[in-house]
């Protein structure tokens, strides 16, 4: 599974997860899980290098032989996404110490909306702000509000994306031992839905 990460340094939870106008991010929240992270924001961000922890997500992927391309602007990210030859992409953006204005968050959401246009279903999306996150993947069995430690985010992402967990990893995957969603053929439920939708025609 491909991984697309948004590293929004300093982005405040109260803005990121609560503003209804961020419609693309909201849709992702509806599809996956989101919530608060415990930890010290100065020491812990899975997407950025800090003294206090072992490796970033990108570094773990590098260990698995996968490149993560880093971007500072949305236009460059989008041309990479559109081209399609990538395993991981990460956008890095900084928000001011005070959290910034609502406009900056709306800008980010518009950029996110553009980026989403270029994805295939087989993509894991991770948005990380200051001690908060949104995580979407078709394999993710967890939906809705989820809180946990920052440490746990990396193993969770790696497991959902189908990577083996390295021995030296900190934290514990939230989905360890859970059955991951896998798309298969037409389920009984989907067959029933198809029948229901078509039968109302009357002719059949």
């Amino acid at each position: 599974m491909k991984i697309l990460a948004f590293n929004l340094q300093g982005a405040k939870r109260a803005m990121l997860l609560a503003d209804e106008r961020l419609e693309n991010l909201r849709r992702l929240m509806d599809m996956g899980c989101f919530g608060e992270l415990e930890g010290d924001p100065r020491e812990w961000n899975v997407l950025a290098r800090h003294e206090a922890h072992t490796l970033t997500l990108a570094e773990f992927l590098a260990q698995a032989g996968k490149d993560v391309a880093m971007f500072d602007d949305v236009a460059a990210l989008n041309s990479k996404l559109a081209f399609g030859d990538w395993d991981g992409c990460q956008l890095n953006a900084s928000f001011p110490i005070d959290g910034g204005s609502a406009d900056q968050y709306l800008d980010f959401d518009r950029g996110l909306g553009d980026a989403l246009q270029h994805l295939s279903d087989d993509t894991l999306i991770l948005v990380v702000g200051e001690l908060c996150f949104v995580l979407v993947a078709s394999s993710n069995p967890i939906t809705g509000y989820q809180d946990g430690s920052s440490l746990d985010l990396t193993p969770t992402v790696l497991e959902l994306a189908g990577y083996p967990l390295p021995a030296n990893i900190e934290g514990k995957s939230w989905v360890a031992g859970m059955e991951l969603n896998r798309s298969s053929g037409l389920s009984d439920d989907e067959q029933a839905m198809l029948r229901e939708r078509l039968s109302g025609l009357g002719y059949i």
Partner: protein, 612 residues
Amino acid sequence: MKKVIVIGLDGFEPKIAESMMARGELPNLMRLREQGGYSRLKTTASAQTPVAWSTFSTGANPGGHGIFDFLTRDAKTYLPLMALSRYEQKNAFVLPKVVNMRRGTPFWDLLSAKDVESTILRIPCAYPPDKVKGRMLSGVGVPDLRGGFGTPTFYSTRKDIHGESSEKAVNVSVADGRVATHVIGPRDPKTKSDHKFDITVEIQQSEDKIIITSQGQPDKLEVSLGKWSKWLKVKFKVGMMQTVSGIVRFNLRQLEPEFELYASPVNFETEEPLFPISSPQEYAHDLAMKIGRYYTAGMAEDHDGLNNERFDEASYLDQCRTVLRERRKMMEFELGRFQKGFFFCLFDTPDRLAHMFWRFTEPNHPANKGEDVSRYAKVIEEHYRECDEIVGEAMKRADPETLFIVLSDHGMNSFQRGLNLNTWLHDNDFLALKSGFKPGESGDFFQNVDWDKTKAFSLGLGCIFLNRKGREANGIVTDGEMESVREGIVKGLTGLVDSDRGAVAVRTVARSEEVYRGPYASEAPDLIVNFSEGYRVSWDTPLGGVPRGLFADNTKKWGGDHVIDPALASGILFMNKKFSAESPGLMDLAPTILNALGVAKGDAMEGSDLIS
């Protein structure tokens, strides 16, 4: 001409119209016949609403607009799909878009390009609506809130209740004269559960009615025994961001010994429909503000509710009249402000009503099961008289500078016997079941069909597809073998006799290229089966069933149909100007209308102006 007014009467059968006129009935249509003329109108292959009206719209055969049947198949999965529109979603993270599968150029595009305004009410196969100069309200093809042709709900205190066909069944219990339940909304694709809207039913036994209390509008809704309620506006919270609203009507079946209540499919609400149903987008709601709430679903009439005996004929008739009335209100409101250009309004009820009441005109129809048919024997004719009255009303708006047209897309006929086409294909070695399975042991969706040994299969209303190598997922028929397979099926089916009745069930079988040409002809079924009067493809066939036996009696209340040999399913055409063509067809309307308004016909239009 300054104006063209077209009144569409879906499924209006020429034989009935002609015999009524011979008796001096249908005075307005007769007047129209005298002013200009009348003819039967050639329909499309196949004789179905979406196919025929798309040909009306584009002036092209179905190969030029891409609609061949209500249903088509997904060549990758062999599953049936709605053929009229598709939800396209680039990936799981972005919102889906509706795409109209009716392609080609409708004549109103050419009018718009020349700045001629159109008012188009309830045109089929325009979902999402075409961008038109003027206004358009979409008709057949608009789904209900669950995304299908219509999903009703049946509430009952009976423990053994289960849903029939598209229906959902809800087992409820009465406590202190109250029932706490819910209206069923859209399916959540992620959790696979249904969104719900809570309602409380208060039973007022002595007055034979219930009061439905909810957070909807109105907050208290009365439903009388055996009657339709007014609309209830309901809301479903489908995500943190999104609520979806809809409108629903109830019919109270009984209060004792069991409590039983029917809820119509939830229609899109005009103020905030899930997807646009009009152009401009706000037009649907502006119209509702003028004439009141109206059915928005393409299939407005609850034929399934009657088929499943959730309410009786009287209720269905009442509903058809409601739909006819609200459509008439739309027409009158719009004609009231119509000055020049093109006007169209389609009345669907002649079709929907005749499907369900045809059996009453044939005492020997297997669906009657000995029932007294006299009570409803004249309902279709009564409805035709009401349609004639509407035509009369519209004619008042026609001046000497108006071309006035009344037409139907196809006729209506008897449906007494159904042919199990997949079973025939199986018995004649064109379709194989997995080893150990016999016909009758295979459900819908081609369950237990052995694709590696199957040369042809039937899906939709009389379509046969070959299992083509390189086209279907497990295709085996090569280009070289294609003609011999088709030859075998054509020879075997042509003149097929229903031995129980000693009657010919299949008149002919058309090869795709004999009836279709143009840019989308390659999407057509490979063969089209042309049934005799009284016959149709069986109920078990359209979704890919392989039942036991070749023929089956049609015992459903849906006892009339028109998906037979198009030569037997012509529609009607009346015009207030003399027209000369020998055998006018639906393809001729677009050029005729364009020419009347001084606009050149499109390159892909195959018909000709009927007047010049």
